[in-house]
């Protein structure tokens, strides 16, 4: 099997092999066609279509109750779709039982069998395939090496730490060499330090094996660091599908903009639009903001203007550069994080604006203090128009 390596944060060149979703000649590896799941009157998953390509680490992101877990359970075969089809590698698996799918799952609870040793847990899937004993032993050994647990082979699950249980669950799900690995909140139960480390290990493992991963998570940071592409889900539908960069920098609507990190959002009315830039007047003031936006918007229509806190520059002196949107304000609150500071600035028009600034200089003193008068500025490329 050729290893399809898919670049994370997809490269800009369209049609390049590292971004198969931009290449219309590529065959999707997993395809959901108008998939729905109803529980009574409630549509947990509502007419969803999706193409995932071989070797992707695809993340489905959403809050609790958005339908992401139901979608994953349908892929695993634990839930029957109410409508639609699922294809994996060209084969229709819509009605296949879980034990016949080329798919394995890592559960959020890990679901490690408590009455079996680590070894027995990992071997379980192969035993059900009735493989010869020595082949099972050899592949279990390989798997233990891969997840770096060879010395724990004979332990029982209650003797393992959370991180070790996670590896056992991962090894158990990977040993059958599934075409697709489903991961339900794979890092949620780990503490922060371990989570960061495991994140990288998971990515490396996926690169090494070339298996297609589908991760479900509610954690936007986890989604962004892991994924080749992210599908943002809300109320049973995909709100936006794109690379981490796309969904962060070019959110399609307010929901996505708010879901990923922080954003300063201003309500505004379109004044002019030429298909390249949009000029909009902030509601309740005369301030006009020019933003790059390649779509035509009708003058007079309503929109939101968003600027991420790290895109804003904060200074005590008026910026001299051209093409910047500048506003003045007073520092009302600040939080010191060591590597950066978060300022809450009360602008002249009364709006509260959040600014995140890197602490470039080494100084025990704060560069800006409470009640300092400051200038806030940003480049017109850095704001985003949210028309939905």
């Amino acid at each position: 099997m050729t290893q399809a390596r898919v670049a994370r944060n997809g490269s800009p060149g369209s049609g390049s092999p590292s971004a198969p979703w931009k290449d219309s000649s590529q065959e999707p590896f997993i395809e959901l066609q108008s998939l729905s799941k109803h529980f009574g009157d409630f549509a947990a998953v509502d007419d969803v279509s999706l193409k995932i390509y071989r070797g992707e680490l695809f993340t489905i992101l959403g809050g609790s109750g958005c339908g992401k877990s139901t979608l994953l359970r349908m892929l695993a075969g634990f839930e029957q779709p109410s409508a639609g089809r699922m294809l994996i590698d060209g084969v229709d698996v819509t009605r296949s039982p879980p034990y016949e799918r080329p798919v394995n799952m890592m559960f959020q609870s890990y679901a490690v069998f408590p009455h079996m040793t680590v070894e027995q847990n990992i071997a379980y899937g192969l035993k059900k395939e009735k493989l010869p004993r020595d082949e099972i032993a050899q592949r279990v050994e390989e798997m233990l090496q891969l997840v770096q647990l060879p010395e724990l082979a004979r332990r029982k699950p209650h003797q393992l730490s959370g991180g070790q249980s996670q590896r056992v669950a991962l090894a158990r799900a990977l040993i059958k060499r599934p075409k697709v690995l489903l991961l339900d909140e794979p890092l949620a139960a780990l503490d922060k330090k371990l989570r960061e480390q495991t994140q990288f290990e998971l990515m490396n493992l996926q690169d090494k094996l070339g298996t297609t991963f589908i991760v479900v998570t509610h954690d936007q940071e986890e989604a962004m660091t892991l994924a080749t592409r992210i599908a943002v889900m809300d109320a049973g539908k995909f709100v936006q599908i794109g690379t981490p960069g796309e969904v962060y920098e070019y959110p399609r609507n307010r929901f996505v903009a708010n879901f990923f990190g922080q954003i300063n959002l201003f309500e505004a009315t379109v004044v002019a639009s030429d298909g390249e830039h949009v000029t909009a007047r902030l509601d309740g003031s005369d301030t006009e903001i020019r933003t790059r936006h390649p779509q035509l918007l009708a003058p007079g229509s309503h929109c939101g203007i968003g600027v991420r806190p790290e895109k804003l520059l904060i200074s005590t002196l008026a910026p001299t550069q051209d093409g910047l949107t500048v506003t003045r304000g007073v520092v009302e609150d600040l939080a010191y994080y060591g590597n950066r500071c978060l300022y809450r600035v009360r602008a002249q028009n009364g709006r509260m604006i959040q600014v995140s600034a890197q602490n470039y200089q080494r100084s025990a003193q704060l560069l800006l203090e409470w009640d300092d008068e400051v200038f806030l500025s940003w480049n017109s490329d850095c704001s985003v128009v949210l028309s939905e």
Partner: protein, 301 residues
């Protein structure tokens, strides 16, 4: 894991009390009565008050003399009646335990899978029969199973039989009585262990290629084992020494050790022999309990 605590005086006193209490209970209500029964079993029967000989004889010139005898135990092995009673009891108790398991497992499983307000109701229904006297419930079965009983009348009125069937005073009636009485003791521990089962484990097994019956054999059954063993012991132990049910529902030929024991005590007034029967019964019961201890220790190791 070690607990590092430095308890105060009151704490230590309290802890000592908590630890001593169950041992005291065991001593007063189990070990002492058992010692008395053991002592009587080693005596000779007498027509006297009490109806057995002394353990020691103080009348002799050389002081104390032990009068203990193993005659009663010897007699247990000589008369086939006792062996047959024991074996019959074990057979009936084993079969009844198996029936309770077959009946109780699906019930416990269903209760554990029922969503909440209903689950409590079902559990209540399992316990509900205990609110009426046990004896009353066994009499109720006599009324239903009799020649003129409800079941025979129903069968006759539907024309399914020409003459009333003999239900009462058979081994089957004894099984019915034991299963009916003891099935809650099977259901409750089974429910407790099935309820703890994480449904993710079932899905994980299915995901890894196990069909439904394999999931049951590989995951459900081994994880329910503590409940199965506890339930089986809770049914087997009282069923083995059961007296009321075979006496009321069983036939004259339904020999169970409880009945033999009763007859020795109250009909023959042979207290020493009856005591010997009781001691052997206890030994038979201790065996499976020790086995259970071994098993549960192994599964924890």
């Amino acid at each position: 894991m070690s607990l590092v605590v430095n308890p105060g005086r009151a704490d230590r006193l309290w802890r000592g009390l908590v630890i001593t209490a169950p041992y005291l209970w065991l001593l007063i209500f189990f070990l002492v009565p058992f010692a008395i029964v053991l002592k009587i079993s080693l005596a000779d029967p007498l027509v006297a008050q009490p109806p057995f000989s002394n353990f020691f004889d103080w009348s002799g010139s050389s002081g104390r003399r032990v009068l203990a005898t193993l005659d009663n135990y010897r007699f247990l092995f000589e008369d086939r009646l006792y062996l047959v009673s024991y074996l019959n009891s074990i057979r009936i108790a084993l079969i009844a335990t198996g029936l309770c398991l077959l009946l109780g497992f699906p019930m416990a499983y269903a209760i554990a899978r029922t969503p909440y307000p209903w689950r409590n109701l079902l559990l209540l229904l399992v316990i509900l029969p205990f609110w009426t006297s046990f004896l009353l419930r066994v009499y109720a079965w006599m009324v239903m199973l009799g020649k003129q009983g409800l079941i025979n009348q129903l069968l006759l009125s539907f024309g399914l039989v020409d003459a009333p069937l003999q239900f009462l005073y058979t081994d089957q009636a004894v099984y019915l009585g034991i299963v009916y009485t003891y099935v809650p003791f099977m259901i409750l521990p089974l429910y407790a262990s099935l309820e703890k089962l994480d449904p993710d484990l079932h899905e994980a097994a299915a995901d890894l290629g196990a069909r439904r019956h394999r999931v049951f054999l590989d995951v459900t059954l081994p994880l329910a084992m503590p409940g199965i063993i506890a339930g089986c012991l809770l049914v087997f132990i009282p069923a083995l020494g059961e007296y009321v049910i075979p006496a009321l529902l069983g036939g004259l030929d339904t020999l169970m050790i409880g009945r033999t024991l009763y007859d020795e005590f109250f009909v023959n007034r042979d207290w020493p022999l009856a005591s010997a029967v009781a001691v052997v019964l206890l030994l038979i019961l201790i065996l499976p309990i020790m086995l259970f201890q071994r098993l549960s220790q192994e599964s924890e190791a």
